[in-house]
């Protein structure tokens, strides 16, 4: 070890520590931005160290420099434009694409090592296992994330895509991928087998995500995020680099935790999400209000009725759901909350799976200038409902169904917002259509619930206008 190698290795350690501290600072919105900047600094330190190391070794050719700098700068420019231009409702797609390119880059690092040594003396087993693993995990992440992004964007149908023989194809791809991997591991350095393994892995990623429904996307994005982290960590094994291992492992852990949290909040096991087969598309069933089940009576109210209740309440909680995100009604909701807050206590209660990825609703509301202390998490909000005058539910269904507290139905055991404990409830909904779980919501037939059938955006605007008229009068 000479001085430069030691300095470079220490710089990687500094970067790793920076990532950990950065993630620690994410535990509060007040310090999160500082954390993100610290992480960025760590990244710069690591990249500079890598460049110093390469210059010191003197192995890189001029073409190598050109390829590296043009590629990195071009990619950076594309990434920057995407990050700047994306609408907040479309963040899940972009996160998915960044997952894809991260996994793709990890796979290419592994393949790069392979191609370089192809025909030369065999790669050591140490590197070989990691290389073969990354040749499988990287492409699966790449194609899976692209399909997920396509589903979120609407380029690929967001409903579960199933076709005859799909299971068989998945099994066949697994056999081919694993077989090719084993062949390479056995020490046969064949480029064609390598290409076969990569293609099988790419196809596997596609068949893995295609059958998963749009509503399960929060789980899938988190899972693919975790995969990408693992792929990057494995690339770290391939090139024996601590910064990649630490960074990748942190992301793997983060994605893994979010996957479990999301699956639990949706009352689904990860296995059942992955097997897929059911789930809803982006647009709910467009059945009319008449489609109420079991002939139970509901109480319909108008925007004016809702406005009267809201204007005279001293404590209001707004429960936004998927429907609000789909209708892009976050600005209307924020405006109403701000209006009510002039005379009463008003805040948002946010279920973990509201939106299209974990925590997505909070970002949408933050964009609409809702201050973060007004976004209550489920547990905090559940303490508040019993003392609340009016709860306004906008585009949320299953997460408010009191049936979840009883055993024996599709939502049993699912953590919910205890909306029914409030003094009265107003639900804005397009129709009596079912939520994701496909069962009736008992909240709607509760006598203290008023149903206002409308699109989330238009409905909120009507109610806000009516409240304004009342307040001005």
């Amino acid at each position: 070890m000479n001085a430069v190698t030691i300095a470079v290795d220490l710089a990687y350690l500094v970067a790793g520590v920076g990532f950990v501290v950065a993630l620690h600072l994410m535990n509060s919105p007040a310090t999160a931005r500082k954390g993100s900047r610290l992480s960025w600094l760590g990244m710069i330190v690591a990249v500079v160290a890598a460049l110093v190391s390469v210059i010191h070794d003197g192995t890189i050719t001029t073409t190598g420099w050109v390829v590296l700098s043009v590629g990195a700068i071009g990619g950076a420019a594309v990434g920057l434009v995407m990050a700047r231009k994306v609408k907040m409702t479309d963040v899940p797609q972009v996160v998915s694409i960044f997952n894809a390119v991260g996994g793709g880059a990890a796979a290419l690092v592994a393949i790069g090592g392979f191609v370089r040594l192809d025909g030369g003396p065999g790669i050591g087993t140490r590197v070989m296992i990691a290389t073969v693993l990354d040749i499988i995990v990287g492409p699966v992440t790449f194609s899976g994330s692209l399909i997920a992004a396509g589903k979120l964007q609407g380029w690929v149908p967001s409903r579960p895509v199933v076709f005859p023989g799909a299971r068989f194809i998945t099994v066949a791809l697994t056999v081919v991928g694993v077989g090719a991997g084993c062949y390479l591991l056995a020490g046969h350095d064949s480029t064609w087998v390598l290409i076969l393994a990569v293609c099988a892995a790419l196809a596997f990623g596609v068949t893995m995500v295609l059958p998963i429904g749009g509503a399960d996307m929060p789980v899938v994005i988190a899972l693919l995020n975790s995969f990408t982290g693992i792929a990057v960590a494995i690339a770290g094994f391939v090139i024996d680099n601590g910064a990649l291992i630490i960074g990748g492992a942190l992301v793997g852990a983060s994605g893994g935790i979010l996957t479990l949290l999301m699956a639990r909040a949706m009352n689904r096991s990860i296995i059942s999400v992955m097997i897929g087969g059911f789930g809803t598309g982006d647009s709910g069933p467009a059945t009319g209000p008449a489609a109420v089940g079991a002939g139970a009576s509901i109480r319909r109210i108008s925007a004016e009725d809702a406005a009267i209740q809201l204007a005279y309440a001293s404590k209001v909680i707004i429960v936004p759901g998927y429907g609000l995100a789909a209708a892009q009604a976050q600005h209307e909701a924020a405006e109403l909350a701000a209006l009510l807050a002039e005379h009463a206590t008003a805040f948002f209660a946010i279920h973990p799976v509201a939106g299209r990825m974990p925590g997505h609703m909070n970002v949408l509301l933050a964009e609409a200038n809702v201050p973060y202390p007004d976004m209550k998490e489920m547990d905090a909000a559940n303490l508040e409902f019993p003392t609340t005058d009016v709860v306004l539910v906008v585009g949320a269904n299953d997460v408010t169904n009191p049936a979840a507290r009883r055993p024996g139905n599709a939502v049993s055991g699912m953590p919910i917002l205890n909306v029914d404990q409030a003094k009265s409830v107003i639900v804005i909904k397009r129709s009596m259509g079912h939520g994701y779980a496909g069962i009736d919501n008992e909240l709607y037939i509760d006598p203290k619930t008023g149903m206002f059938f409308s699109d989330a955006k238009a409905g909120l605007a009507e109610i806000t206008a009516a409240v304004k008229a009342l307040v001005a009068a």
Binding site: S39, M43, G64, G79, V95, R126, G359
Partner: protein, 106 residues
């Protein structure tokens, strides 16, 4: 089993445990920025792109290095700028535009 591999495995396992400890404390309010921030962190794979660019000698090697550098550059820069863009929207209660009535809610 070499010592290098062994220390790599130690690092990997310990980093996962540290990640678990740190990330379970992140409130669900910040889960989207967290995912975006971790997205940016896996852009560290750009170091891998630097390494394969330094070892490339053939056309195939250069092509791989180019695509890897492009992907990783997009990952790093896009990830950090998106995270920062989201986080700067999270603010405390703004100084009110002259409303009266109760302001403190929590």
């Amino acid at each position: 089993m070499t010592t290098a591999l062994m220390s790599d495995i130690y690092m990997f396992v310990l980093a996962i445990l540290v990640g678990y400890e740190v990330i379970t404390k992140v409130p669900s309010t910040l889960h989207t920025p967290l995912m975006s921030a971790s997205n940016a962190i896996h852009g560290i794979v750009i170091i891998g792109a630097v390494v394969i660019a330094s070892q490339a000698r053939t056309d195939a090697g250069y092509a791989l290095a180019f695509v890897a550098a492009f992907f990783a550059g997009m990952n790093v820069v896009g990830g950090y700028s998106l995270t920062d863009r989201m986080l700067q929207m999270f603010r405390k209660r703004p100084e009110p535009p002259a409303h009266d009535g109760p302001k403190e809610l929590s």
